[in-house]
Subunit: 235 residues, 2 copies
């Protein structure tokens, strides 16, 4: 793996303290002094679309805070198929299983241009002994994992394929906090929903015909309320 390492002018303590995603991220509840414990500067990497941050089974020495962009966590099945089990957005923590000294469970691949901060296991452990803040934040991040798994399992892999597509669109709008966002490729949507890209395409075409979604290039705008109603009508 030879990812591009970024060197900011503000590398060092102030960079972290003022980080735009710090509130949501792992270091969200640390005090300014806590940062003195860390090995600074924190390495930061930039990934382009399709690049892999780590592979399933890799020895895990770091976790990564997503600063911008989006990562997909992918399971490859014997036979070449793949399944996307989670999406990571700014503030999320990738490779969280490293905290148990386990190899990475899945492959992390950038779906857009993405920036991540690398946090070594050693730093996490140092901080953990120093302050209870980190444990609280960790718990919150794990909770997020469970929350997502719940949505994935309860809503995105169940029922008619059209419903799944609509639920995914609503979910993406929810996490993006806007009804206009970058649409994953048909194949990726299929890998999230456990349906084929052709079925995704057909469903999207139908939704466009019904004026519930509008696309231009990669970006999509959805009629959030309309889609919710569409869902309720066939539940």
């Amino acid at each position: 793996m030879k990812l591009i390492k970024i060197n900011h002018a503000w590398d060092g303590k102030d960079g972290c303290v003022n980080c735009a995603v710090r509130k949501q991220a792992l270091f969200g509840e640390l005090t300014r002094d806590d940062f003195d414990v860390l090995h600074l500067p924190i390495p930061e990497f930039r990934l382009s679309v399709g690049e892999t941050l780590y592979y399933a089974g890799d020895a895990a020495n770091s976790v990564y805070t997503v600063r911008s962009g989006m990562l997909k966590l992918v399971d490859f099945l014997p036979g070449g198929e793949y399944r996307i089990v989670r999406l990571l957005r700014p503030g999320d923590l990738a490779g969280i299983e490293a905290l148990n000294a386990r190899p990475y469970l899945n492959q992390a691949i950038a779906m857009q241009d993405t920036e991540v901060c690398q946090i070594s296991l050693a730093d996490v452990e140092l901080l953990n002994e120093r302050t209870p803040h980190l444990c609280r934040k960790l718990t919150a991040l794990w909770q997020q994992v469970q929350n997502d798994a719940d949505i994935w399992l309860g809503q995105l892999t169940v029922g008619a394929s059209a419903k799944r597509v609509v639920r995914l669109l609503l979910y993406l709008a929810d996490v993006a906090e806007t009804s206009e966002f970058l649409l994953p490729s048909g194949e990726d949507m299929g890998a999230i929903l456990a349906i084929t890209k052709e079925t995704v395409s057909r469903t999207m075409a139908e939704l466009k015909r019904q004026k519930l979604v509008f696309t231009e290039n990669q970006t999509v705008r959805i009629d959030y309320a309309g889609l919710k109603q569409w869902l309720d009508a066939r539940s």
Copy 2:
């Protein structure tokens, strides 16, 4: 909810310290002295098949360590369908989302006669300030959640229905650590795999014909190696 409360002769500190599932469970890494912090005795409940431990949306003041039996975590969908998103076995922690002051995410229902210990949020927080052991154990338990979610998403909701059934049987054997175990009802297996109970029944019938699984009453014995081979043959 009026569950049956159990009163053991050994209620108190010794009961916990000597608990059969303590090593895997939340208190696994506590020292004997740590127990002095707790409000003892720890309340313990017994649930019969079908009884509910808590409902989705209930205010969550406790987590529960499963001592024996099995719980299912269930999502109910608008329309009466339901989906099982996780199974909890002895040593697992139910209601883990309570640790973030969130209401319970799903309904917990006993699939067999089941015993649980109730641990109040207050106790967890007391311990957490006193010792870093708990945080480590919590992290391990959250990891388990992620692991399971991964298996669920990657293996149990993907591919032909027969493959899913076989993967579920192998999974159940793995967690039970024996190839002979209590078989969930057809409807429950369907709710885990996102297929109908009829399809489950047909698949099981076929596997019995092929001498890969044997049932008597509720218990099932599987030809573990045979099923693995069966899976590999059609991957």
